[in-house]
């Protein structure tokens, strides 16, 4: 049976199991919106700006484990979407983005709302397609979902010329996807797994360093089994938060630039470091030649190009984190059957004692104040109020780091943050996608006043689509993270960081039909959070906090992780820093 290309697109989405798309119509995709008019089984959420459609699809994908879908028109819509695509690329989030395109005979003619969409998205997607022939629609959409969700997940973009959507075609739906050029390797090499197990069995100071790959692979249970069986302390990257309960005795919290003192010290002094689904990002390693200098490194990752990219590894294991961890647990159990040598046991005992000492002496900490709200306190109270059972989304900046440091994460797939790209404005639209994927659940967007402003128009979407996202603005009247760097590294030469006073967030929320709340005193924080949670509508809670507060610990850019500073540096330290090229 022949049908219009637009209808084929929707049919294919349905067959692919898609129930929700985020989008914004326009000229080139009007045929799809026309087909959507009486198409059953697909919910469409109308966003206010195209990047928000992409971020919402990311939020949907990250919390549901399924592929997120967004649909926008040609030209400016596609270019607006680019930020979200690159964001998903950096964080390995499976989304499929559809854009409209001018009719095939006009491509290259500088037609109205034309852009070289596939040319623009090529470097910021895992793969992209331009559909030139309607009979390819089915196979391409099938491949797009396959590519997005398998191997190292990522965004796939499908560009749809208008004439392909209008003309009638036969629906071709391949029973399965076979691509000779794309066959990700899922099972780790047994020899390497054995080597890793032997190393771990003999390790005196092992550390697990786990990232977002554990979450994509749904490997939290296997990870926990490994950590507990061999009693290996575990630190998580920003992307990996939630893969292991923070309140577990083996947890070292986050590592890296704003990670915990004890995580960075443990990694630095470790003799065997097991990286699982992490990519040795520069915010994690600091100066690479000083990263884990004494450790033999085992790296488990599905992407061969991640291995030995930044740090030379000793035991590379290419494969799906879950499958590899299952095998590693088996192999290690075999190795641990024999009682370890007394020297190793003694080493492990000392290691545990050393870590306990670091944890006791250098926890995350801040100065309490009775007069002004401390941002860390806000996150702590959100954590207390939700017991780690809420979906947490953030923007990018200081508030993001405080959320990562002070929220007690319990479960995987309940934390969304822009890790790789650091996209300000990520919070609200992503939270919207999370809420749409998890109706009835509590979704809290911890945002900054600078970050929130970049996509605050989506309050309208939250209101009209009935998505009761709770936003807590950690409001320090400026770009706090930039201010922190200017204070610590640029000698307090503050430049272009103030966002004083406007808008009035409470009135802005109300203008969008949402509920606005404001807190200015520490004593008001807890009641306001409770009120926010119990309000069934979308809420913006504006918390005016101490603008001088900085995120510590901090590893200045270019420094080694052991150069981390725990409090604002003295003038002497700063002057020394100013003389060196790398900071501290």
């Amino acid at each position: 049976m022949k049908m219009a290309g637009a209808r084929i697109v929707l049919e294919c989405l349905k067959r692919q199991g898609v129930d929700l798309i985020f989008g914004l119509p326009g000229g080139a995709v009007l045929p799809i919106y026309d087909a959507l008019y009486d198409f059953e089984g697909l919910r469409h959420i109308l966003v206010r700006q195209e990047a928000a459609a992409g971020h919402a699809a990311e939020g949907y994908a990250r919390t549901s484990g399924r592929v997120g879908v967004c649909l926008v028109t040609s030209g400016p819509a596609a270019t607006n979407l680019v930020t979200a695509l690159q964001d998903a690329m950096m964080d390995s989030i499976p989304i499929v983005a559809f854009t409209g395109q001018v009719p095939t005979h006009l491509i290259g003619n500088d037609a109205f709302q034309e852009a070289d969409n596939v040319g623009i998205t090529r470097p910021c997607t895992k793969h992209n397609f331009l559909v030139k022939d309607g009979k390819d629609l089915g196979p391409i959409i099938r491949e797009a979902f396959h590519i997005a969700s398998t191997g190292r997940p990522g965004p796939v973009h499908v560009d749809l010329p208008k004439d392909v959507l209008v003309k009638e075609w036969d629906l071709v739906w391949p029973a399965q996807v076979h691509m000779r050029s794309y066959n990700p390797n899922y099972d780790g090499h047994p020899g390497q797994i054995k080597r890793a197990a032997k190393l771990l069995a003999r390790a005196k100071k092992p550390v697990l360093y786990v990232g977002g790959g554990v979450i994509s692979a749904d490997a939290s249970a296997e990870l926990r089994e490994l950590a507990e069986m061999a009693q290996i302390p575990l630190t998580q990257t920003l992307m990996g938060l939630g893969s292991f309960p923070m309140e577990h005795p083996l947890s070292l919290d986050m590592l890296g630039m704003h990670g915990s003192y004890y995580a960075n010290m443990a990694v630095h002094h470790s003799d065997v470091l097991v990286a699982v689904g992490a990519r040795f990002d520069d915010r994690v390693t600091g100066r690479v030649d000083a990263f884990a200098p004494h450790a033999e490194i085992i790296h488990i990752d599905i992407d061969p190009s991640s291995i030995s990219k930044n740090i030379k590894v000793d035991v590379p294991i290419v494969g799906d984190c879950r499958r590899v961890l299952v095998k590693l647990v088996e192999a290690l159990r075999e190795e641990l059957r024999e009682e370890p040598a007394p020297a190793i046991r003694e080493g492990r005992r000392q290691w545990a004692a050393q870590i306990a000492e670091w944890k006791r002496d250098f926890p995350f900490r801040y100065e309490w104040s009775d007069d002004v709200v401390k941002p860390q306190h806000v996150v702590q109270e959100i954590s207390n109020a939700t017991g780690g059972e809420a979906f947490i989304v953030t923007g990018v900046g200081q508030h993001q780091m405080w959320a990562a440091q002070y929220y007690k994460f319990k479960h995987p797939r309940m934390w969304c943050t822009s890790g790789g790209l650091g996209t300000m404005g990520y919070g609200l639209p992503t939270a919207m996608g999370v809420q749409a994927a998890n109706p009835g659940k509590l979704v809290i967007n911890i945002d900054g006043d600078g970050s929130f402003q970049m996509n605050s128009q989506e309050l309208a979407t939250c209101f009209t689509e009935g998505l009761p996202v709770k936003t807590v603005i950690i409001n320090n009247s400026g770009h706090g993270m930039v201010r922190q760097w200017q204070r610590i590294i640029y000698k307090e030469r503050y430049c272009a960081i103030d966002l004083p006073g406007v808008p009035d967030w409470v009135r802005l929320a109300e203008a969008y039909g949402c509920v606005g709340l404001r807190v200015t005193k520490p004593s008001e924080v807890v009641p306001a959070i409770e009120k926010m949670i119990s309000t069934p509508a979308p809420v913006v809670l504006d918390v005016c906090v101490d603008k001088d507060e900085c995120v510590f610990p901090m590893v200045p850019a270019g420094g080694a992780n052991t150069d981390m500073i725990l409090e604002p540096p003295t003038r002497e330290v700063r002057d020394k820093a100013a003389k060196s090229q790398t900071g501290f």
């Binding site: 596939v118 040319g119 090529r122 470097p123 895992k126 793969h127 331009l130 590519i147 691509m179 000779r180 050029s181 794309y182 992407d303 061969p304 190009s305 030995s308 990219k309």
Partner: protein, 191 residues
């Protein structure tokens, strides 16, 4: 044995899907990482749905390892082979338009003869020479012709194939090219 950290030239053969945009994906991969492609040649293989690229890239072991891994990561790339340390044959074709004054015509022809280059175009004042060979041979020829005055020079970029009986491309039946004699409209054509 070369030090692995010394940058050197690598010849990389890449089998890719013969689809539009693939060239740009490969070129984009190199430009995005600041790697320089010294030469690149592309052509269809026996299987018309597969193209083969021969890339010459300069880099140390680390750069080449990343480049080959990243190439392999591209969805349309089927196979990546670094031929550098394998026994292989490399060839390049060059066309050279060289001044041919009466005083040096004979010398040009002698030089061409030594290099087994052919004269493919002649005018009273110039020759166009065609030569194939590996890089060293072509460089030597060019150096010898330079004093005569080279007006224009075109090189194809390198193609390379491994020595020995092993085939890098899956053996595929060559599709028969339609011949002129197959066309019923052509009558009495001696094929």
């Amino acid at each position: 044995m070369q030090n692995g950290n010394e940058p050197r030239k690598h010849t990389i053969a890449v089998l890719v899907e013969n689809k539009f945009g693939v060239l740009s994906r490969v070129a984009g991969l190199f430009s995005a990482r600041g790697y320089n492609i010294e030469s690149m040649s592309v052509g269809e293989t026996l299987d018309p749905s597969i193209s083969r690229m021969t890339l010459v890239v300069r880099g140390d072991e680390f750069v080449i390892e990343q480049a080959t891994k990243q190439l392999h990561k591209l969805i349309d790339v089927i196979k990546v082979t670094d031929l550098t340390d394998e026994s292989h044959v490399e060839r390049e074709l060059v066309l050279i338009r060289v001044n041919a004054e009466p005083s040096n015509r004979a010398e040009i022809l002698r030089t061409a003869d030594i290099f087994r280059a052919r004269v493919v175009d002649v005018t009273p004042v110039s020759f166009v020479l065609e030569a194939t060979g590996d890089e060293g041979k072509l460089e030597a020829l060019i150096e010898l012709l330079r004093p005569m005055g080279i007006q224009e020079l075109v090189r194809t970029g390198k193609v390379a194939i491994a020595r020995g009986p092993k085939t890098r491309v899956r053996r595929v039946e060559a599709p028969r090219k339609p011949r002129v004699a197959d066309d019923p409209r052509v009558v009495g054509f001696a094929d």
